[in-house]
Symmetry: none
Subunit: 415 residues, 2 copies
C-alpha cells in the first residue's frame, strides 16, 4: 500500500460553498506515515460521475480514501455506488445501529428509516466507529486495493481517521522511511528576527529541514526528519532542536499543537495557583479558550466580562475617577480590573484586558491599542501596553496570547 | 462551454501543507455565471502525473482551469507540460516581460533567466495580466476546449480570475443561465424531521433545487435557482421559499451567512433592550461570540463566567441551599444565575448556562446535560433543560446556539 488518492464527495464543494479541508487533513497525516498521495479528486453527489472518479483512481492508486456521502439523506450515495461497483453487499453493523438507536432514544425521538440506513457497512469490511456522530466509516481491502470511507463533517472525519483508520493502514506497511515533525512554538520574537538568528541553520540543514512560520503574533519552527527507525528520527530532531534553542530558547513556550493559554494553565496547575480574569475588548475570548481545556477547574475560577463602562464600575469596582481621568483604555483601568477581579474571586492571579478592538477608535485611541493588567497576590500589580496588528478578530486573538504570555512569564519567576 | 474542471498543481497541497482554497474561489465564481464544475483535481509538481490529470480532464470537461506551476523555479512546469501536450509554442508576451523587468529594476536587482521565463505564454493565447505578481496567466481555446492557466498564490490568482478570466469566459457564452442560491437557516428542528416535512418538495423540485444540511445542531436549506434573468431567478427563489416556510417557518431564524447570536442581537437592538450573561459550562463562549459583533455595546453590557461553584455563590449570588439541594447542574441554579446577572448588571434580559460539557460527568449527570435560564424584566424567570450531542466543544457550541434561540424567541413575543 503506497500510492494514495483522496476522493471528496459533495456537490457543495464543487459549488464553492465549502473548502475541501478534509483532503488537507488526511494528506498531512498520510505524509507522516510515509504514504504518498498523488491525487486529490472532488466529485459531486452524482452516482455516474462518482463511479467515473473511482475508476480513474483505480488506475493510479492502491489506497483510495473517500470523504462524504455517508449520511441519511437521498444525496448521500458513496456507500451504495461503491458497493455496487465492487460487488459487495451492505449489512447492518450491530454496534453502529445500537449507537444510532440510542441517539434517538435519549432524545425521545423516533428513528426514521433513513437514519437506520447509516449503520449499513460493506460485508467483509472493518467498521470504523464514529465517536462524534452517527454514520460509521469502513475499511475494505479488495483486489489488492484498500478503500476507506469516512464521513464528510470534519468533526466526525478527523477523530475517526486518526483513531481508527490510521492504525488499520499501519498494519499493512512495514519499515517505511517515515517523516516526523516537531513544532517549536515561540512568542515575543518576530519571524524575520528569528529567521536571521537561525539563517545558517536553515540554509545548511537538509535532514531535518527547518521551516519557520508566523501566525497571529507567534512564530513556529517546524523541524522535519526522515528515517526508517523511530530512535534515529528522534535523535535527529533532538539534535536540531538543541541547536535552535541555544539561540532563541528564551522565547520558547511549547511544542506541537499546544497554545500559550494551555501552557499557562499547566504551570498554574503545577504550582497549585488559581486565576480569575476581567475582559473588556476580548469579551470572553480568553476565558472561552481557558474553559475549552478539560480539567481547567483546578486552576481557573471564573471572571467578569465588563464590556460596558458601568459594569467596570458597578460590578468590578473600578474607581469612577480612574475612568474619568484616564479613560477605560488605560493602564490604570487595566490594573484596577486585574487586581479587583483577583480579590473578588479570591484567586492568586488576576488578569485583565482593556483596549480598542476596532473597527472604530475609542477615547481617541486607535484599534490595536491594548492594556493588560497582571495582579499577583502579595505583589504590586503591573500594567502593560501593547500595540497589536490586524482587524477586530486578530486584535482580540493577539491580546489573549499576549495576556497568557505575561502570566506564563510571571509564573516562571515563581518557585 | 458548459462543463468545468479545476486542476490545482502543487505538491505542497498533496503533502497537506496548504489547503486548495483556489478551487473553492473559482467554483464559487463559476457557479454564479452558470458554469457547472463537475470535478476538482489536485496533482503534484510532476510532469507525467500532471499529463495524466489533463488527459482525464479532457474526457469529461470542456473548460479546464489550472492553478499553480507558473512561477520561476524548476518545479513550476504546468506551462511546459501543457504546451507539449497541446502542440503549441511558447513565446514572450512583451507587456508581461516589461512588467517583470520593471519589477527588478525598481528594486535594483538583476533579473535572472528563470524570472524572464515567466513571461512566456502559449502562442495564440490571450495573456491574462498579473496585477499583483509576476507570472501572467493565459486563456487558450483549442480543439473546442478552453484552457485557462492561473498562478497559484491566491493573492495573484483571485484578482486575475475575476478581472481578466471571467470576462473572457463570458464572451464564449450568451444568454447565460446564472445560478443564485439562498440559504434558509433553521433551529429547533432536526435534519431528518425537516427532510420528512419537505420530502415531496425536495423530490419533485428541479429548478430551484432544495438541499438541507445539518451543522452543529442547526439545519440549513439551500435553495438554488437557475435562470438567465435576475428577476426570474429571484421569483423562483421567493416562490420556493414560501412553500418551505408554510411548513417549517416557525423554525426559521435567518438567511445566508448569519448566526442565531447575530439575529438575537439585531432584535435586541431593534427593541432597544439590553442583555447580560452568566456562563458556567460555556465559559465565555457566548459572550465571545456576542463581542465579535462590532457595535454590540448598544445591547450587550457584560457578564460573569462563574466556572467555580464559589463564584456562583459569592459573585453571582446563587443561594448556597440551591446548590446543596439541587446541584450546580440544575434548572434552579440556571434560573438564579440568569435572574441575578440581569439584576447585577441592570439589563432587560439575563441569560445563563450551566451543565456538563464533558468529557467527565458532573454531579452524576452525563456530558450534554445542560440547563439554560432566561430572565426577562418584570416576567417570571424560566429554566430550560436540553440534552446536547457531541464532544466538549460541540456541547458548548450547541449550548450557545440554544441559549440565543431561547432569547430570540422571547424577543419575538415582545412588541
Amino acid at each position: 500500500m503506497k500510492n494514495g488518492e483522496i476522493i471528496a464527495v459533495g456537490s457543495e464543494i464543487l459549488l464553492g460553498q465549502i473548502t475541501n479541508t478534509n483532503a488537507k487533513f488526511i494528506s498531512e497525516h498520510l505524509a507522516k506515515i510515509g504514504i504518498n498521495v498523488y491525487y486529490h479528486t472532488v466529485v459531486g453527489d452524482n452516482p455516474n460521475r462518482l463511479l467515473n472518479a473511482v475508476k480513474v483512481a483505480e488506475t493510479r492508486a492502491d489506497l483510495i480514501i473517500f470523504t462524504g456521502g455517508l449520511g441519511p439523506t437521498k444525496d448521500d450515495l458513496t456507500k451504495e455506488t461503491l458497493a455496487n461497483h465492487l460487488g459487495v453487499n451492505l449489512e447492518y453493523d450491530e454496534k453502529a445501529l445500537r449507537s444510532i438507536e440510542n441517539f434517538f432514544a435519549k432524545r425521545n425521538q423516533p428513528m426514521t428509516e433513513n437514519n437506520k440506513k447509516q449503520a449499513l457497512i460493506f460485508s467483509g469490511s472493518q467498521c470504523l466507529p464514529n465517536d462524534t456522530g452517527m454514520a460509521p466509516g469502513m475499511f475494505l481491502t479488495k483486489n489488492n486495493r484498500t478503500y476507506i470511507l469516512l464521513p464528510g463533517p470534519p468533526s466526525e472525519m478527523q477523530p475517526m481517521f486518526t483513531t481508527y483508520a490510521i492504525p488499520e493502514i499501519l498494519k499493512g506497511i512495514e519499515n517505511v522511511e517515515q517523516i516526523e515533525s516537531r513544532v517549536l512554538r515561540f512568542y515575543g520574537i518576530g519571524e524575520s528576527k528569528l529567521e536571521v538568528e537561525l539563517e545558517d541553520l536553515i540554509d545548511t540543514q537538509t535532514n531535518p529541514t527547518i521551516a519557520p512560520l508566523a501566525v497571529d503574533g507567534e512564530v513556529t519552527v517546524r523541524i522535519t526528519a526522515k528515517h526508517a527507525l523511530d530512535d534515529e528520527r528522534k535523535h535527529l530532531l533532538d539534535e536540531t532542536e538543541e541547536k535552535i534553542l541555544v539561540r532563541v530558547g528564551k522565547y520558547l513556550y511549547g511544542y506541537n499543537e499546544t497554545t500559550i493559554v494551555n501552557e499557562m494553565g499547566k504551570l498554574l496547575q503545577q504550582k497549585n495557583l488559581t486565576l480569575a480574569v476581567a475582559e473588556s475588548l476580548t469579551g470572553g475570548l480568553f476565558q472561552e479558550e481557558v474553559t475549552s481545556i478539560a480539567g481547567c477547574s483546578k486552576w481557573f475560577k471564573g471572571g467578569i466580562v465588563s464590556y460596558a463602562p458601568e459594569v467596570k464600575i458597578n460590578n468590578l469596582g473600578v474607581k469612577k475617577e480612574t475612568i474619568e481621568n484616564h479613560g477605560v483604555v488605560s493602564e490604570e483601568c487595566a490594573k484596577e480590573m486585574a487586581e479587583n477581579v483577583r480579590k473578588l474571586m479570591d484567586t492568586d492571579f488576576g488578569l485583565s484586558f482593556t483596549g480598542v478592538a476596532g473597527p472604530g477608535s475609542l477615547e481617541g485611541k486607535e484599534p490595536g491599542t491594548v492594556y493588560i493588567g497582571v495582579s499577583v497576590k502579595n505583589k504590586p500589580t503591573k500594567g502593560y501596553y501593547v500595540n497589536l496588528f490586524g482587524n477586530r478578530e486578530s486584535v482580540r486573538v493577539r491580546s489573549v496570547k499576549h495576556g497568557a504570555w505575561l502570566v506564563y512569564n510571571a509564573l516562571r519567576e515563581i518557585d
